[in-house]
């Protein structure tokens, strides 16, 4: 590389936030890919917001989401739906989450974004690109780790391949 881009502009605290958020996202993807929805719920604060929203709505300022959960209780209800009430063909998910971009860190809360793609593989079938988008996140620093106060998944994919059962 001939030219380094603003390495000295990154204070150590940002590097720290970067490290925490990227580690968090790696864990987040792993938990969903393993289908551990109880653990997924634990990654959020009590009064969290979790949304999966088409980019079309997000860009137009329209509020409708594909999934819109406003508390950890609602996340639990979704987890129960996935495991117990929603009838669906099973599929694997595989998350590939890009390096986060730290937008703001005030010491207690971190605003960040990261690109993601989720692949879907149904039993006996090929892998498909299922959902592609961007996380808009607000993390709360809690002890040595982070919790999600807000995760809004804004997805580009103009068609959901039939249904969306598992979280993104």
């Amino acid at each position: 590389m001939s030219k380094l881009i603003r390495p000295q502009a990154l204070p150590l605290s940002v590097l720290e936030a970067q490290y925490y958020v990227d580690q968090f996202n790696a864990t987040y993807g792993d938990i969903l890919d393993r289908g551990d929805y109880d653990a997924w719920v634990e990654l959020f604060t009590e009064d969290c917001l979790y949304k999966v929203i088409p980019r079309e709505n997000h860009d137009a300022g329209l509020p409708l989401a594909t999934m819109a959960l406003e508390s950890r209780g609602m996340l639990k209800d979704r987890a129960y739906g996935i495991t117990t009430t929603l009838f669906h063909a099973p599929y694997y998910q595989r998350h590939v989450i890009g390096v986060a971009q730290i937008l703001n860190d005030n010491g207690s809360e971190i605003r960040a974004t990261a690109n993601y793609s989720v692949f879907r593989t149904k039993p006996g079938s090929v892998s498909e690109i299922y959902n592609v988008g961007r996380y808009l996140d607000l993390f709360l620093r809690e002890g040595a780790g982070l919790k999600l106060k807000e995760r809004v998944c804004v997805f580009d994919s103009e068609m959901i391949l039939n249904s969306m059962i598992y979280p993104i």
Binding site: L64, A65, D77, T85, N162
Partner: protein, 426 residues
């Protein structure tokens, strides 16, 4: 039992429906490409059928447009200066180019990028480059359109449009009856109950691609038998189940229908929950706001009305959640399903939030609707593996067609196929 797949029929013949009724629907009705082509011509493009294209509230201002579909044909719905709406086909009269590529926007005219043919918002051809040819310095004129070229003959295909209390429908059939006549006196009051002229607000869109025949979605919402069995939320929380007071209404042709019901307290009730594995006796929500139902003045009794307007749209009121669900077919074995959730301008902030929360039950990820898309995919897979021989069985509550005062019936599906057979001449 014959397990060998039946041979493919020759290309120039359509299959034959063996019996006289409409309670056994042959699998070929869902899989045969020639049958599908006839469906497009007769159900979506002709025979006086009106298709849903938009909600008026999506296009509030002069020049606002959106791309929509009638069958597989892409159309543009656009607001005129005088407030009326035009629907024109998105296909240039010159070389057939699908010229409009932005899904929504605002325009004063449409210009095809290929040769810059320009159209007014009503589809009239307004102008084209080099129509009179190109004049050289010595006065010689080169090229140009023939002298008898008539601008009036070369506009975009214009559809007949019906705007009904905020709903926008269109048809390629210039001889179609009025929209009201098309819907019929039995179904129209149920449309008026939701769309009484109040201004709507758009909450947003969800899109899903379902690998199944488009009619399976119409059937799904003409099938009051399944919701209390497939959908845990419906049977457990009393949103739709067989011990509720219900009515099945259809138009005189059997093509449109309304499933009407009134919510009950849910919980255990031997006749409808015993042996039903989707019923969860001890299920309780961690966050009750997901089902914070508040009755509205215009309900006048029913808590749910599911309206199927053949062939293109389903209109949903399930407690406080409202949506149109547009069916866009794409070959015999796939369709796109486009949900537009809406409310009313008179809604306060609380009601809007409530509608959005209850939207968690519906749409591609819905606690209830997600499994409908799934079972439609499984149905299509089953039809495909059997070949032309198989048929579905729709004989709950008999083999005839008539409105009912209960939901233990498949009469609405039989009604639709009775009509389908007549129009398809199959």
């Amino acid at each position: 039992m014959n397990i060998a797949p039946s041979p493919l029929p020759p290309l120039d013949t359509l299959p034959t429906w063996q019996d006289a009724g409409s309670s056994r629907i042959p699998f070929w009705a869902y899989t045969d490409p020639q049958v599908y082509r006839r469906e497009l011509e007769r159900m979506f493009y002709g025979h006086g059928h009106w298709c849903y294209v938009a909600l008026e509230a999506e296009l509030p201002k002069f020049g606002d447009y959106k791309i929509s579909y009638v069958g597989e044909r892409q159309v543009i719905v656009v607001r005129e200066r005088d407030g009326s709406l035009n629907v024109v086909e998105n296909r240039c009269a010159h070389r057939g180019v699908r010229f409009c590529q932005k899904p929504r926007g605002n325009a004063r005219s449409f210009v095809c990028p290929y040769h810059q043919w320009t159209y007014k918002l009503n589809g009239d051809l307004a102008g084209l480059p080099f129509r009179q040819g190109v004049k050289k310095d010595d006065g010689e004129v080169q090229g140009g359109m023939p002298a008898d070229f008539d601008m009036k003959q070369h506009g975009l295909t214009k559809l007949k449009v019906a705007v009904y209390n905020g709903l926008v429908f269109a048809t390629f059939d210039q001889d179609a009856p009025s929209f009201e006549e098309y819907i019929g006196a039995d179904v129209l009051p149920w449309l008026n109950r939701i769309f009484d002229g109040r201004k709507l607000t758009i909450l947003g869109t969800n899109r899903q691609r379902i690998p199944g025949n488009w009619k399976l979605m119409m059937e799904n919402i003409k099938d009051p038998y399944h919701p209390g069995l497939l959908h845990t939320w419906f049977v457990t929380f009393g949103l739709w189940r067989a011990d509720q007071q219900s009515r099945m209404v259809m138009d005189e042709h059997g093509r449109h229908a309304v499933m009407i019901s009134q919510r009950n307290a849910g919980g255990e009730a031997k006749a409808v929950t015993e042996g039903v594995t989707s019923f969860k006796k001890d299920m309780a929500l961690n966050d009750m706001r997901l089902l914070d139902v508040v009755p509205e003045y215009w309900w006048k009794g029913p808590t749910v009305t599911m309206i199927t307007l053949f062939p293109s749209v389903i209109i949903q009121q399930q407690v406080n959640s409202l949506s149109t669900r547009h069916i866009v077919p794409s070959g015999p074995d796939s369709f796109d399903f486009v949900w537009t959730h809406f409310g009313f301008e008179e809604d306060d902030e609380e009601m809007t939030r409530r509608r959005l929360r209850q939207a968690n039950l519906f749409g591609p990820a819905g606690f209830v609707s997600a499994d409908d898309g799934e079972v439609i995919e499984f149905s299509q897979s089953g039809f495909r593996q059997k070949g032309a021989d198989g048929a579905t069985l729709c004989e709950l509550d008999g083999r005839g067609v008539a409105p009912t005062q209960h939901m233990v019936t498949e009469t609405l599906i039989r009604g639709m196929y009775g009509y389908w057979r007549k129009v398809m001449e199959l």
